[in-house]
């Protein structure tokens, strides 16, 4: 609550009924009822906050968490070598294989990038969404940092997909060795993309929008208007 106290005198553009066009940066007078009206300059829809941010983020997040299950249960890659039986690998079996093969460092990297990061990302976004919806004042600064971290780290989860895509393209020796992607990789890719979309949909301003004290915002607006 330390930061909440520090921000007490802040006036937001919403409170001033002003908004900047997200596309061209034109600042427009925007009242609550005019939400979504086109920008006079570029006719992009004008909003105080990202449109339907919470529900959209929820939607992407739910989709991502649904797909997270097949992404980890289904094999992402099939390896066929000379004479040997084709073997399908899930991400976890790959990590396990690396670990038993002695490359524990690689195993940790893959484990963190492919399993921990998406999971943590989903978890953090859920946390952000819930707190924002409830208008919580808890650790708002920390939550903003968390959001920036999510945004930053998001694309690194695509590591596995890159590996599979590269291997499938490079290792094509017909009978000697052949690597083909399996449905798990699609699910996994979808999870990564969906979490990125979800984090993009989320509006970090919502963290700060919470009406800390109902009496405080009102006087500010009132004093500005006249």
């Amino acid at each position: 609550m330390a930061d909440a106290g520090g921000d007490a005198p802040v006036v937001t553009a919403t409170e001033l009924n002003v908004a900047a066009c997200a596309a061209c940066g034109r600042i427009v007078r925007l009242t609550e009822r005019c939400e979504g009206a086109p920008c006079p300059r570029c006719s992009a829809p004008l909003r105080h906050r990202k449109h339907n941010s919470l529900s959209r983020t929820w939607a992407f997040l739910i989709a991502a968490s649904i797909l997270y299950v097949p992404a980890n249960l289904l094999p992402i890659m099939r390896t066929q070598t000379l004479g040997g039986a084709a073997r399908d690998d899930t991400i976890l079996s790959g990590v396990f294989e690396l670990w038993t093969a002695g490359s524990w460092d690689l195993a940790i990297i893959v484990f963190v990038a492919s399993i921990v990061v998406p999971l943590v990302k989903i978890g953090m976004l859920v946390l952000l969404l819930i707190t924002s919806q409830r208008g919580s004042h808890w650790a708002r600064m920390g939550r903003s940092r968390m959001y920036r971290l999510i945004e930053f780290v998001g694309h690194w989860s695509m590591l596995d997909i890159f590996v599979v895509a590269l291997m499938a393209a490079l290792v094509r020796f017909q009978t000697l060795a052949d690597i083909t992607p399996r449905p798990g990789s699609i699910a996994f890719g979808a999870v990564v993309v969906l979490t990125m979309l979800a984090s993009r949909r989320f509006d970090p301003r919502l963290i700060w929008d919470a009406p800390s004290q109902p009496r405080q915002p009102a006087p500010i607006i009132n004093t500005e208007r006249p």
């Binding site: 939400e35 529900s55 991502a64 289904l74």
Partner: protein, 564 residues
């Protein structure tokens, strides 16, 4: 704060449009699609995984959890999930996850076995598993009943359920060199194999399960005979030396052969699982079955050395049976040993002769009557030598026109065929009589006489040598000398020659003198009375001339008589 405030009032206001009500819900299509996709993936992966089965093996050699495949017709249909020991620790329990399509193999009568490289005498199999590692082979059963626990086979089954063909059974006294997988040949083409062998419950016979591939299975007819074609069959019998093999593979690995007998009447194809008997060799298989045979008996009062069980019985040179047994017996009346020879004769081997007799006879058309008729027509059995080197004998049934008429006693069973001495015996007798005659010649006496004669001859020769020869030598020397003298005398420069020539000259001269005298007398006959006048000097008295030397006479005389 003061800066933006005036501008805030000047800020333009966007024209408001009616917000679309439904825009909010559009985004929920995304999780819906995600759920759908996840659902599809899940369903697909669920559909892809088939039943899980448990197979018990004796050993998990070559089986690796997560790697070893289960293959049906070489198509991977599952994978070994894990292996564990069975509760009693006697075997290995292998958990296999099959793919969805493979649930058809999880039925009651399916068989599972581990395919490993196998090198046998009959061939090499499973070489591919050297690289890929072992896999579990499946033979899909035909049953509809599902089953999830199986007892794995240690060896691949001899025949898989989808192979076309028929099963048959064979009984034999011993397995010989045959074994599971041994090929079966029909006219030396491999048409099937032994798929199983088992000792009968009583342990007395061995039953072999055969599988004959389609379309060859139709050649297994009701009268097919199977025989062991393993190895090299070397036979030395009355027919000489015989060597028989099927193929090189059977020499090493063993095998069976079959053929319908008689060949021109193959009969109807045998039903599945028909039981046949396995014969030791082709000849045995070819022999008509025992039910068709007719037992005959022979009584030989002679040495039967060289006659063996199995020796052929020939009728007019055609083999119609075999010697079944030989037994020595004693005849109290004749005080002689005799050999009781039992024969198995197949009247069918006599072909049309027997058939036509059967059709035309007024008597009972049985083989027994047939042989009785033949005996009445002087059929006699003889022992004959088949092979002079091995000394094998065979029984010849032939008509003997010189034999005494005989009628076989009625009701005799087995029928006894009267015997006669064989040709060889007759020859032996003749030779022995010759030998006896030779034996009676007094060789010793002749020898003594000859010795005496030789002794006197020797003396004579000695005498000749001691007395006559020296004389003869002397005579010869004399004769030689005489001849030498004669040669000397007759040579050109010998005295005799010159003497004779001188004498001859003298004689010539004398003759000439005589002629002169004669001439003179002719002209002067008076001179005989008066003598010669004194003036005439020419004429000279010749008689004393003979004593004068040759030289003298030859030089001087001719001048005097010639002058006138």
């Amino acid at each position: 704060m003061s800066e933006p405030e005036p501008s805030l009032r000047d800020l333009p206001e966007p024209s408001v449009r009616q917000p679309r009500r439904w825009t909010v819900s559009v985004i929920w299509v995304v999780p819906f699609i995600a759920a759908l996709a996840a659902g599809i993936l899940g369903v697909r992966s669920y559909l892809g995984s088939g039943p899980s089965v448990i197979i018990d093996f004796k050993t998990a050699e070559g089986l690796e959890a997560g790697k070893t495949e289960v293959r049906y017709k070489d198509v991977p249909i599952g994978k070994v999930k894990r292996t564990e020991l069975t509760e009693d620790g006697q075997g290995v329990r292998v958990h296999v996850a099959l793919i969805r399509d493979a649930e058809i193999v999880a039925v009651e009568d399916s068989n599972f076995w581990v395919v490993r490289p196998r090198v046998g005498l009959g061939g090499v199999s499973g070489l591919g598993t050297l690289i890929s590692g072992a896999y579990i082979g499946v033979d899909r059963g035909r049953s509809k009943e599902e089953r999830t626990e199986f007892q794995g086979l240690e060896k691949p089954p001899g025949v898989t359920s989808d192979q076309q063909g028929r099963h048959f059974a064979l009984t034999t006294n011993d397995l010989g060199s045959l074994d599971t997988g041994s090929p079966i040949y029909y006219r030396r083409i491999a048409v099937g194999r032994i798929i199983d062998r088992a000792l009968d419950a009583d342990g007395k016979r061995v039953t072999l399960q055969l599988f004959i591939d389609a379309p060859y299975d139709k050649f297994v007819t009701t009268n097919a005979r199977f025989w062991n074609a393993s190895g090299i069959d070397v036979q030395v019998d009355a027919n000489g030396f015989k060597l028989n093999t099927q193929s090189l593979a059977t020499v090493i690995a063993g095998g069976l052969a079959f053929q319908p007998f008689p060949e021109d009447q193959p009969g109807a194809p045998a039903a599945e699982n028909t039981q046949f008997q396995l014969f030791d060799d082709r000849t045995a298989a070819q022999a008509p079955s025992e039910s068709e045979s007719k037992r005959l008996r022979l009584r030989f009062y002679q040495n039967t050395r060289g006659l063996t069980v199995g020796a052929p019985v020939e009728f007019q040179g055609i083999e119609i049976g075999r010697v079944r047994s030989l037994e020595l017996d004693f005849d109290r009346e004749r005080k002689e040993f005799w050999t009781d020879v039992a024969l198995d004769v197949y009247p069918r081997s006599m072909g049309r002769a027997f058939d036509s007799w059967q059709r035309n006879t007024q008597r009972e058309p049985t083989a027994d009557t047939f042989f009785r008729v033949l005996v009445e027509r002087n059929l006699r059995a003889q022992l004959r030598t088949a092979n002079l080197i091995t000394g094998q004998l065979y029984v010849a049934l032939d008509f003997d026109p010189k034999a005494k008429k005989m009628v076989a006693p009625a009701g005799q069973d087995p029928l006894e065929i009267p015997t006669s001495r064989g040709e060889f015996d007759q020859i032996q007798e003749q030779i022995s009589s010759i030998v006896t005659k030779i034996d009676s010649i007094p060789f010793e006496e002749i020898g003594n006489n000859l010795k005496n004669t030789l002794k006197s001859a020797d003396e004579l020769v000695k005498k000749l040598d001691g007395q006559v020869v020296p004389e003869l030598q002397k005579t010869v020397a004399e004769a030689h000398r005489t001849l030498g003298a004669a040669t000397d005398a007759l040579s050109d420069d010998s005295r005799l020659q010159s003497d004779v020539r001188g004498t001859m000259d003298e004689v010539g001269r004398a003759a000439r003198s005589l002629r002169t005298l004669a001439d003179y007398l002719q002209r002067h006959p008076e001179s005989l009375l008066r003598g010669r006048p004194s003036g005439e000097q020419e004429l000279k008295p010749s008689p004393p001339a003979s004593s004068s030397t040759a030289i003298d006479t030859s030089v001087t005389p001719p001048a005097a008589p010639e002058k006138p």
